[in-house]
Amino acid sequence: MGLDFLTYGFMQRALITGIAAAVCCAMVGLYLVLKRYSLFGDALSHMAFGGIALGYFLNVYPIWTATAVSVSAAMGITKLRKSTKISGDAAIAVMLSSGLGMGVILVSAAHGFTIDLFSFLFGSVLLTNTSDTLSFIGISGGVIATLLVFRKPLLHFTFDEEQAKINGVSVEKLNYLFIALAAVTVIITMRLVGILLISALIVLPNITSMMMGKGFKKTMIISISLSVAATMIGIILSYPLNLAPSGSIVMILVAMYVGTLLARHAGLFSKKAVLQEIS
């Protein structure tokens, strides 16, 4: 016994897909959490579910229909939110239920086709095939590169939208770009943890790293590290213990959050901050 199972193709594909999704989620998630948009990922994933059902219904590669549906729905909702001034949480509720509603109708209308509903709801990273893995690597590379290029305007926009506008940041265009990146991130993460657990990967690593009292760049690096570590440990442990990888990843992230909370409560981070200040 050992880690022989890591030489299996499906395990390697799962790890690569998992890491790609974990990095994107942590990066996009930090901006979402700071904008108080934590549940936006959930809403997008429900829209994506509708898109996947549409793909199966139309006999098109479901990842593309899921991307098209969630990106256009997210853009539409952003525009609607601006013009009707409905609140963020209400907009999320609209997206969430309409995506799921559409999915359920399509699944029931075409009761002949066999979608593995469970794998979309709770993830199926071990079933990722080579072509999916390659598309995910390409897509996540694009998401990460775009986020790195726009990291400073995105931070400014997240910190204070009006001041960013005055300082010459094209706030509206940036908002649409970011929404599209978030939608694409959700699509690749859906395979890892499923529709119902996406919020965990978006929120948990970020609220954990934010507790450590660091600046923006370090907070993002810590968040990415936590997210990647939890994903790798979760996938690796799930095989010998015969557990669901998605649930394992999420529970490891929860443990990290609780551990950090306790450490902070014990004064670990505040002491460091004081020492830093003295030096």
Binding site: K152, L155, H156, Q163, K165, I166, N167, F216
Partner: protein, 269 residues
Amino acid sequence: MPMNVLDVENVSASYNGALAISKISFNVREGDLLGIVGPNGAGKTTLFRAILGLQNYQGKIKLFGYEGSQYASLLPMVGYVPQKVSLEPNFPATVYDVVEMGLLSEKKLNKGAKLIQNCGCCWNRIFGTSSKNSEKIEKALEIVGLEPLRSRRISELSGGEQQRTFIASALVKEPVLLILDEPVTGVDMEVQNKFYSVLRKINKENKITIIWASHDLTAISDHATKVACMNRDLFFHGEKDEFFSNKDLIKTYSESAMQMHMHNHSHEV
């Protein structure tokens, strides 16, 4: 004759459905340090938001004589310190990160500088033309006395320190027009005095035009060169001495502001 940096012509705007400013007209000339006084709810912030393109309004506003898309190109050259910024309690941006935000659109700043040169003015640099961005940030931090706190999270600072960070963020881009909305509210006297001396220095030496809203009539009388007094309508706009010798001050300025004036003077005695 100095050029007009800002022309406000017959500007009206609403806040939450109610008329907040009504047909206001005034201009600000290059090098002015204009103090705007008016009671709470007088429409000072609404006026600033209209100038900054954050608020719909009727009438005309021109920057260096420009309107429309050229006006929008010049906006990044305007520094703005709002009255209050609400911050997320755990927001991980450091003081340095926030000051750096002022320098985000260098291309737009240069485009704005060209427009200003076209109308015969120049971009008066505070930090010298050869300064790198990191040097500008350090110098802006030095002006507000925040160098030791540069790596601290802004959300961990006191209200006064946060306000100084926003002042540094507005100064770092070397604005042609600086708009300050009660900038030293919640800041201690020592920093207030330092701030006022910085204000005078960049106004006199770097010829940066400043519009500054305040309730502190003593500070206005000590530092401003011109005064505007408003309470939805504009009651007065002109030289400082003319304002302070005006016996109708009580009528034009609200009773509460007057009480503040008396209060400040009683402190001096």
